[in-house]
């Protein structure tokens, strides 16, 4: 697939929303982040820290209030198949079979026939070769998310945006899917940006972990994960990084260190 491009440059980005009661809500405050082509970046933070908003901005589903957001050096002005997104809910089209779902993107571009073989190959690659004629409601949660992945990957995206794609899965399926996503990422080579609230998942999968804090959404720290893949979830280096990340989180969230009662 396309490995020539897929870099993202975010400079002094702000995003405000109009709140329900009239005054504005500062969702993202002064975000500066540079993501190299082919990198796997995880964005972690508690809910309300703006991590999903940031992902939506990269996808082009929303536009920045100020600052710059460049994709391969060009400002992002709207959604593009080159920045594919997988949501927490697989969002498969219920009226299309698995195969038709995967072929949705190419069909929109009028390239259904040319990509027929690629669609079948991707279905097989994500392990859905035997289910291409099933309806979405017949799939399990993990299978549906595989189909959603294939549907995005068939578009040959330069950037793969993952918005808590495994958040709704049980932990066994979840770990299997983490390996699955890593395998596809390594094989197809897109830049990957994943939002998650699972610290282990972030360490296990990514090259860099971006930690965000809420109200307003800011980047508090970026930690490089220099562990070779495949990673050992129980290894010493892994656990040390985990402890460090947790520490950052406690600091970032200012959990009172002393109990609120005294003896």
């Amino acid at each position: 697939m396309n490995s020539a491009a897929g870099s993202i440059q975010i400079e002094a980005l702000h995003k405000t929303f109009a709140g329900a009661d009239g005054h504005t809500v500062q969702a993202l405050d002064d975000i500066t982040l540079s993501i190299r082509q082919g990198q796997f970046v995880a964005i972690v933070g508690s809910s309300g820290c703006g991590k999903s908003t940031l992902l939506r901005l990269i996808a082009g589903l929303d536009l920045p209030s100020s600052g710059r957001l460049l994709f391969d050096g060009e400002p992002v002005t709207g959604p593009d198949r080159l920045r594919g997104m997988v949501f927490q809910d697989p969002n498969l089209f219920p009226w299309l079979t698995v195969r038709q779902n995967i072929a949705f993107g190419p069909r929109m571009r009028g390239r259904a026939r040319e990509t027929a073989a690629a669609v079948d190959a991707l279905a097989a690659l994500v392990g859905l070769g035997d289910f291409i004629h099933s309806w979405p409601h017949q799939l399990s949660g993990g299978m549906a998310q595989r189909a959603a992945l294939a549907r995005t990957l068939v578009n040959e995206p330069e950037v793969l945006l993952l918005d808590e794609p495994l958040g709704a899965l049980d932990s066994f399926t979840r770990m299997a899917m983490q390996d699955e996503i890593l395998r596809l990422w390594a094989e197809l080579g897109p830049t990957a940006v994943m939002v998650t609230h699972d610290i282990d998942e972030a360490i296990y999968m990514s090259d860099r972990v971006v930690i965000m804090t809420p109200r307003p959404g800011r980047i508090s720290q970026v930690i490089d994960i220099d562990l070779p893949r495949p990673r050992d979830r129980g290894g010493d280096a892994f656990l040390r990084l985990r402890a460090r990340l947790l520490e950052v989180f406690h600091l970032a969230h200012r959990v009172p260190a002393t109990p609120e009662y005294s003896l």
Partner: protein, 260 residues
């Protein structure tokens, strides 16, 4: 979903029909009411065979049925090609909805007979006014179902389609429309019921054909046996039409069965 050969519920339904027929037969057999008020099942059956063989007032039974179904079909087609696109458009665009919604809200509760005379004056006494009447009755349910359908389309599904490269037009055609199909069919079935029940009213004025007209004509002569034949035929045709629409729905919305 288990599918046994014959469900208990089906037997109960058949039993109910049989009981009603039996009660009907007994009431007439023992002359509990006069023939004019309630003809016996046998008389109705004989009348049916007679009408089928000789027709009713210059037209065969088939012609009467065809006349009614023709009007119904034309009106229904008119509803399909107007109410579906306008309803979907109105659901997508608040300005369009600002124009159309109040009009539909106004027409919807009106009894069709209230404006039928006007339609006859404007469109003539032929089929045009009858079809228009049926179409006006059938328009609101389909329109409203389409608007509701669009409102129910998940926003995530639309955004997902956008990230996959769908343009605005493609969003409408490939996401909004198929997502609304189940609602559209619900609207169509409601509309079928409404237009069908308006049919008799439509055939009251200056018709010489149609099942509805046959019943009304028979009423003038107190031919209760003919009235019964007409009513039973209308009832059965109504059920058949609804079944047909459901069959089309299963073909057009194959994903619906277990998903909703």
């Amino acid at each position: 979903m288990k599918r046994p050969g014959l469900k208990v519920e089906t037997l109960i339904t058949l039993d109910t029909v049989a009981s009603i027929l039996l009660a009907w037969e007994l009431v007439t057999r023992f002359k509990l009411v006069t023939d004019i008020l309630l003809p016996s099942p046998g008389t109705v059956w004989t009348t049916f065979l007679q009408i089928r063989a000789e027709g009713y007032k210059d037209h065969s039974l088939l012609q009467h049925l065809a006349a009614s179904l023709g009007r119904l079909g034309a009106a229904f087609a008119l509803v399909v090609v107007t109410a579906i696109p306008l309803g979907l458009w109105s659901g997508c665009n608040s300005k369009v909805s600002a124009v159309l919604d109040p009009l539909v809200e106004f027409v919807r509760p009106l009894p069709p007979l209230a404006y039928y005379t006007l339609l006859v004056l404007w469109l003539g006494i032929e089929n045009g006014s009858k079809i228009a009447l049926l179409a006006l009755a059938g328009f609101p349910p389909v329109f409203i179902a389409c608007v509701a359908g669009v409102k129910r389309v998940k926003g995530d599904l639309l955004q997902c389609a956008r990230t996959l490269g769908a343009s605005q037009g493609q969003l409408f055609l490939h996401v909004v429309f198929p997502a609304c199909l189940p609602d559209i069919f619900t609207g169509l079935r409601t509309a079928l019921g409404v237009t069908y029940s308006t049919l008799v009213a439509a055939e009251m004025v200056a018709a010489i054909t149609g099942i509805g007209w046959m019943v009304l004509d028979a009423s003038k002569f107190l031919r209760s046996d003919v009235i019964f034949v007409g009513i039973i035929l209308m009832g059965l045709t109504g059920i058949l039409l609804d079944r047909a629409l459901r069959l089309i729905e299963v073909k057009a919305v194959p994903w619906k069965e277990k998903n909703r």
